[in-house]
Symmetry: C2
Subunit: 200 residues, 2 copies
């Protein structure tokens, strides 16, 4: 049963992207085949190619989609807090092994870092992503400084530091869970953040 309606693109593309994310998380980008993605998305390779003429174009879309989805989640949760410090630690939801995005999200993240480490184009995407997180953190820091809660010389620097801390802890927490519990991740990040925003 083909083209049920003309707005089919707005259905198919998310379907395909979602399928691709899952396959990539499971097998990695290199072992993700168009056939598999197509099947998972409920169509044939020919159908898939109709929307994404090349594998590269599919991956690009998936990567951008993934980043923006995670970013959106983070931003929304942060915005639900008023207090600047609460905002800064609102990203601790990243350390939740029961989150539906847990496995998929981390696997995607490692895949993307690895292609970024090889490819300028993706490094640029990564750069923008980091930037957007840093800006988010920076805004909270500035708010805290204005409010008198924080003492920070350079809020951008502080934001970069906090962002890097989140990531370093995340890598350990995901890749070596045996030694890095949820509690470890959370308390470590909390304490480092406190230090970063209240020095000098």
């Amino acid at each position: 049963m083909y083209g049920v309606n003309r707005a089919i693109q707005s259905i198919r593309i998310p379907q395909i992207v979602e399928a691709a994310v899952e396959i990539i998380a499971e097998r990695g980008i290199k072992d993700t085949t168009l056939d598999l993605v197509a099947k998972k998305a409920g169509l044939s390779k020919g159908g898939l190619i109709h929307y994404f003429p090349t594998k590269k174009s599919l991956i690009e879309t998936v990567v951008k989609e993934f980043f923006s989805r995670i970013f959106q989640r983070g931003k929304e949760l942060r915005d639900s807090f008023e207090d600047p410090y609460e905002q800064l630690i609102s990203f601790l939801w990243l350390y939740n092994r029961n989150d539906p995005d847990y496995f998929t999200g981390y696997r995607m993240f490692f895949e993307i870092m690895t292609i970024a480490s090889m490819d300028r184009e993706y490094r640029e995407v990564f750069h923008q992503w980091v930037n957007s997180w840093v800006e988010l953190l920076e805004a909270s820091i500035k708010k805290g400084v204005e409010k008198g809660d924080f003492e920070v010389e350079d809020s951008k620097e502080a934001a970069k530091t906090i962002s890097a801390i989140y990531q370093g802890v995340a890598s350990r927490w995901f890749l070596d869970p045996e030694n890095h519990s949820d509690e470890w991740a959370k308390s470590t990040v909390r304490s480092l953040i406190k230090f970063v925003v209240s020095r000098k």
Copy 2:
């Protein structure tokens, strides 16, 4: 000109591993072909297969070799310092874009993290690697505590934290150099380490 001498294995295997590391760093594990590695190592695919019957066996050896080489470097440099704090920051050599191992080392690291995120076996290798770094750091911390330089509740926890910090900063420094200078990396790590070993 074949088998020049019987101790050839001890020459060929490092040659092959070295070639593989370079190819992997350049193209990633998935795009590393036996032919390319063989050629780079100065022999044919048949010759390569003689030493490593499968690609998997080659990769395993390469990963272990890589880890132990970098670890060795770190350990030796650390051991050249007496002062515990100097020892803790001795790993700042990791943030040197002119280091001969710079590109290769970081690329390998991302490749390995990514396979570790997919594969239990490699996660175990990663786990052991992290452990060995943590132990190295822990020893320095304990020394500093005994000496009275540091104030630390749980030296293992502190070591894990410092290790994660090194890694988080490293990821940013490598993947987004535009925004993360050598100086940023070094001063960030220095200041966070100081905090970690002297709190409470």
